[in-house]
Amino acid sequence: MSSDYGFQQLVLLNSAGYERAELPLDESVSLIAPNNTGKTSLINALQYLLIIDKRHLDFGAHDKDKARRFYFPSNSSYILLEVTLPESGSVVLGCVGKGVSHDYNYFAYQGPLHIEEYRLDNGKLVTQPQLLEQLAHHGRTASFYSSADFAEMVYGGARRRGQTSSEFTVFRLENRKDANAYRQVLTRTLRLDKLSSGEVKRHLLQIFSRQLPDSVVDFKQEWDKAFAEVNQDREQYRAAHNQQTLIDELERQQDERLATRGRIIARRPLIDDGLQRWQNHYQTQSESLEHQHQNLQKQEADLLQRDRDQTRRQSELNQQLAALKKNEQRCDELENRFTLIHDRSQLEQQLASATEERDRQIALLTNAHGQSAVATDHQLRREEQELSALRKEQETLSDNLYLTLKQHLSEEQLSVLNRGLNRQLLTLSPGDYQLESQQLLQWLQDMPEDWFELPGLNLSVANQAPQYEQRSAEEIAQLIEDCQGRLRQLQEQKAASREMESQKKRKAELEQEVKSLEKDLEQFDELTQLQKSRPDRLKEMEVARQELAEIDQAQTQASAQQQTLRDQIQELINKRQALDTAHQEIDRIRQNRGDSDDQFNWLSDLPHTPWVGDTELPLDQLAQTLRDYQRDCYQLKDLDRDLHHRRITLHSSGLTKFQYAPNPEEEIRLMVEFRHHLAREAEALEKKARSAVVTVTASLRDLRGNLQSFENAMHEFNRLISRRKLSDLKVFRIQPVHESHLVEAIDLLIQTSEKVESGESFELFNQTSVLDDRQLDQARQLLIDEGSARHGLKVADLFRLTFELGKENQAIESFDDIDSAASNGTVLMAKLVTGLAMLHLMQDKTRNVQALCYLDEALALDAANQRSLIKTASEFGFALMFASPSPLITAHYCVPIQQMSNGMNHISRKHWQILQPLEAVKA
């Protein structure tokens, strides 16, 4: 079935070794030439017009520069294609060489292709610079185009220069994106023998790519993304779960802190006010107590003074009373004594008689010897001594010194000597002696001691009283007698003295008696006096006693009073002490307040539990309250520190999800809340994990879905290529085969997720958890590894294409490579059908513009197959061109290539042979 629209003819002028080549394209062609005579280069020329993009030009073994020189040797080398289009009728697409650079230029115009129009009047071909002018001359409005613009035109791209989009659009694709793939397949279609399995797969994927949305799945990223939160949450849950005790403690302390804060906040103004009032209170109270104290002390002093006076008075009265008593006693005593004496005159009489007797005695004594007994004794002893001396003299009277001296000395001499030894001598006055002291001294020195040496006389004077008077015995006897007489007299006198003593004693007694009587008289007078004053005295005693009793009573009272006073004073002192103690304590706390930190200034801005205690602070409770307050302040600081440490501990044990709370208090609140809702958190976590599994598999489902879509598309594609029988093949299809390990892994994950979605026995933290499943983990790891090796998983990674061929009566076989699948001819056919089907799929089916496909080595196909291929190609919208050394009678045209004498090839319209079935000719 040929189309009304499509390629009409290909013309090469002065190109590719052809002087001129005209090739019909509106029906199947058998191009006939021996090998290596430029069949392929003829068909390759179309690439310049249809592929356009230099990058995609493919000349097999020849590189593109060589090809350019080959196709455009001069500026009059042309490749021309006439196409009939539904919108604009016949159009010519052309490519002309630019000369020595071997570059080329695109042009196009509406109208049929007449080779003559390219020939100048001189028969030469028009050169590129004159081309537009030449064509204009023939009424053709041609323009040059850049390759990009030309490509846009041919493939129906953007409208430029006011042209309608379809003016030169040869290929209209269902999807603009396919242009690239289309061109590539088309390239291959022009050289189908090169189509490889890999290319088939690539192109099929490209063709179906619009049905497969851009789905590159980076599975690892998807997995990590989906589970990142779950894993994080799970960590947090576990941390909180493990630290429940600590969090409970945290909660308790936080409550305590809030309460303490509330208390401090409520009490602080009370305390401030209380302290103010306390100061006043203390001063007033102190003064008042001081005043009272002084009063009491004064009272006490007064009391003491009075007491002292009373005591003095008491002692006076006692003395007085004692004196009175003594008098009374004296009175009684004297009354006793003078009981018998009634009258004073009696006593006067006794006194008078005693006085008289005494006076008599005194007179007696005055007449007696006045010498005293002592003097008499003295004289007696002297007389006795003299008597003893005299007696001694009497003994020595016959032989003594004096007598001796008298014998030897004259009387005068003796007299001088005797006088010289007079006892009075040493009392001589100065006129009576002469003293030669030197001489005397010399003399005395020469004398031994106690010896008195006179010339010729040495005297012992040891026992001597000086001076001696020699007496006569008679004289001595006389003297002794005298002495004895005096002694007797003296002894008599002594006896008389003794009598005198007793007289004197008598006189003393008498005087004593007088005195006694005088005293008695005196005492009697006293008695009389005492008796007379008795009534007064008794009365006086009574008064004194009464006064004493009064004093006693007063003192007793005073003592009680004093005790009371002392008690009162003590009480005051106690009060004062208590006041001072309280003040000291309050003052101490005030000086050292626990709320001096900054934080206490904005404490009310911090969270706290309002305090519901008293709003009044009586002063007597101030100290206690202040102590409590102080304790609260310190406790608050301790709590702050403890809570801080606990929070840090919780952080380090992994509970970090609330770290970014606006403040630590909020964080603690959230931690505590979290701990209370752990059970709910576990549920939420499980839900999250489920949804993560679902999420992560969503992308896999997409991928799997795309694979399914691709398989469906391939099914359609196979239907397309199986419409005609290829060679002896009963079955020919291109089958996507799963990369089973990947697809199975994906399916496993998807199944798991379905299980999860339906909530079937999925426990997050037990052994069957999705996160712990070994098989699941292997699947996950596989997908991650493959994904990272391929920078994400694509549908293309999930399958490979196999070519399934089945001959009659044989089992279907699969081949990875189409080239190895069957005989040459079969392979050629397979490739062709595949390629055409791909192009067909891309084209806009509503616009039937017949294109060309080319098959080299066509002799490998038998006639039946050739016919089948021609039909198939036609159905896909292609005219088939076979190339072979000998003609194929199945084609509509047989076109031989002729070699000219100048070595150039030549194909002329005149050599076209048109083959028609006999029936048709007959008809």
Partner: protein
């Protein structure tokens, strides 16, 4: 000049050329699931690799089921011994599993651990002893398989890799030959398949 520089250019685009060459040259198989990165590179540059290896005198083969190897028509006697022993190993394993009613095509999912190897050994003791293999010999044979890229050791057990398909294909072929020998109508129709490893 151009050939050398062209080769150099191609080689520069193949960072793992040396690694892959050593890999294959040791007779080791490359499995897609075991070495996804190497596999991806090989697949992406298959033409270049094939060309270079071919120029180096090696025939790179790539099986669509996900494994590649250097094909050798006739291996050294050492390789042959290893090949024969591996064939025996896989055969006894597959036989054991088949007896247990386990589908053979899912061999990649089997866990070949000590327990399984013991069972395998007990069931094929005569055969293995004829080849002078005891249980520890069987284990060391698994290591050989690992070295040739037929298995990998993971999580305390071996896992067979797709390259084992080469043996499996071979067994099936042998089995079908036996069938054909028995089926007169198909006799003698089997000739041009490549049976060597």
């Amino acid at each position: 000049m151009s050939n050398t520089s062209q080769f150099q250019q191609i080689a520069n685009n193949l960072p793992n050329l040396a690694l892959l060459f050593r890999w294959f040259n040791r007779g080791r198989h490359l499995n897609r699931i075991a070495e996804p990165v190497l596999w991806e590179e090989l697949e992406r540059n298959l033409d270049d690799y094939t060309a270079i290896f071919s120029a180096l005198g090696s025939d790179l083969r790539l099986d669509g089921r996900g494994f590649a190897w250097f094909h050798q028509d006739d291996g050294s006697s050492n390789t042959n011994k290893a090949t024969r022993q591996l064939a025996l190993l896989f055969m006894v394993i597959f036989d054991t599993q088949a007896d247990a009613g386990i589908p053979l095509m899912k061999f990649e999912h089997w866990r070949i651990d000590q327990t399984l190897l013991t069972t395998v050994f007990e069931q094929h003791q005569d055969l293995l002893e004829a080849e002078e293999l005891d249980l520890s010999g069987l284990v060391s044979l698994m290591r050989t398989a690992e070295n040739f890229g037929f298995a990998r050791y993971d999580g305390g057990a071996w896992q067979l890799l797709p390259a084992v398909c080469r043996y499996l294909d071979h067994y099936e072929e042998l089995a079908s030959q036996v069938d054909q020998d028995e089926d007169v109508s198909w006799a003698g129709d089997q000739d041009d398949e490549d049976n060597s490893l």
